[in-house]
């Protein structure tokens, strides 16, 4: 394999890693609070606010039901406002985050709903405020499941990032399409696929390990 191709691979690997890492971080930052809000504003919970909950649920669902490639193109004006450009790796982070945050929010919502409500009640009986219940009860108790949810989100993002080539985001997926597919370079196709598989494996193993460490049940 020529020096050029190796450089291309390294560059693409970096682009994928950068896009996925940045959007995972941002998605976690927005997704976890969003998930918490979805739970605590639901019926009978500590900050019940049904109209708000319903509206938020609809927005989350709308985002989640739009296929990523369409979402990415559809929000180009928004991407331009946020990232200053609608083309390139940084620009790709915006749609990746917007697609992943609601996904993670639903995963976090499910994880927190699995926490026995009796524990919340016990904390209330001890005089805990809603903020304390979220920070000291709901999040720690749901943490093993949340970690698995973040893992799942990162893996989805690795998949989504393959489509980032559409708006010039680069990355391994883009490399595989442009060289492996369009230029019939089977070797590049195989290498990129192997690297993607390895990435997913590493992320999944790390996630499983961390969740296992946190789980005391």
């Amino acid at each position: 394999m020529s020096q050029d191709l190796i450089e291309l691979l390294v560059k693409s690997l970096w682009e994928t890693t950068y896009m996925v890492a940045a959007s995972s971080l941002l998605a976690t930052l927005f997704g976890i609070p969003l998930g918490v809000i979805l739970v605590v504003t639901d019926k009978g919970h500590i900050l019940e606010n049904l109209p708000f909950n319903r509206v938020l649920g609809i927005i989350v669902n709308a985002t989640r039901s739009t296929p990523f490639i369409i979402l990415m193109v559809a929000i180009i004006p928004l991407t331009r406002i946020i990232a200053g450009t609608s083309i390139g790796t940084n620009a790709a982070i915006v749609p990746l985050t917007i697609a992943a945050a609601p996904f993670l929010a639903r995963v976090v919502e499910t994880a927190i709903k699995e926490v026995d409500f009796g524990v919340v009640e016990a904390a209330k009986a001890m005089g805990a405020s809603p903020r304390e219940i979220i920070a000291k009860v709901l999040l720690p108790e749901a943490m093993p499941s949340i970690v698995l949810g973040v893992t799942l989100t990162i893996i989805s993002l690795i998949g989504y990032s393959a489509m980032a080539g559409t708006i010039g985001g680069g990355g391994l997926g883009d490399l595989a399409i442009r060289y492996g597919y369009q230029r019939f370079r089977a070797d590049i196709m195989i290498i990129t696929v192997l690297i993607l598989i390895a990435q997913v494996q590493i992320v999944q193993s790390l996630g499983d390990y961390l969740a296992g460490r946190l789980n005391k049940k």
Binding site: D116, G118, V119, E121, A122, A123, K124, A125, M126, G127, A128, S129, E132, K136, V137, P140, E141, M143, L214, K216, K217
Partner: protein, 352 residues
Amino acid sequence: MIELTGIEKVYNDRSSSTHALKGVDLTVRQGEIYGIIGKSGAGKSTLIRCINMLEQPTKGTVIVDGNDLTTMPDNKLREIRKKIGMIFQHFNLLSTRTVAQNIAFPLELAGINKQEIEKRVSNLLDLVGLADKKDQYPAQLSGGQKQRVGIARALANQPKVLLCDEATSALDPQTTKSILELLKTINQKFALTIVLITHEMQVIKEICDKVAVIEDGVIIEQGTVIDVFTRPEAPTTRDFIRNIINHDLPDMFNKTTFLSEPTADSNLVVRLSFIGNSAEEPIISSMIRRFNIDASILYANIDHIQNTPFGTLLLELSGEQGAQQNALTYLNAQELGIEVIGYVTRFNRAVG
């Protein structure tokens, strides 16, 4: 210490509304162990949750230690709740915290500093006998141990009141006994007021001073445990007590017809109940000697309600009609509970 007045609770659902509590008045004095017993769905769980406002009553007032909780703003209510401990049927421990960290939880909420927390937690661990388990997680503990953690956690902020929501219902009889003993110890040691709800009369009998029987959202009977056990009035109360003290006639009397008036050759069947010291006096033997009658014991049972002996005796008296009546008058004059079941003809005698 606790005063509930006219508590009503209505749950409104989309289509129907449920009247869970229909005007409950309850007074619990400082240092008492007050038991509330009822079948499932009677409203007892809702009632105990009204005491610390986990359930907001639809009507009525809740006063704990002089504070009216029903009109209190949230932040003040949270401060009051720190002085009302609560334990639960399913323990409700935090699974990601160790035993010691679970007990420390309410202290963290109260903003107590680290050294003080450590000191108090270690005392509490000793109190509930779990010092060697302090670094284990709840999943590694047995049910009884989990409830001990629950109790230690509930006591951490030195509360004035402890609420027990079916605290022993998920435990086996042996463990139940040890948890009840622990509650009794705590009650005596700290003069802690305890309110507990249960569906088991055994729990009431074991540790309560007072009892209220709740049915269909209303308290149908209340009083000291001795009074309610020896003179239950409502059918539901009798139902509950039946497992502990038998107020029914033995099965062999099912076919016997009891007459309300004596006949020439009838025997008198009476039930006597002895409470406290009268259980120790030789009333029966002196009756037999004085009135020259015979007494057959059809059923007898002596039990202790905490430290008070309590006995039931079903007697069939035979002899002259006049002597029987004299004996009855004599028995009525004694300090014991007496109930005339009826007269049986000698031909119909159940025993003999």
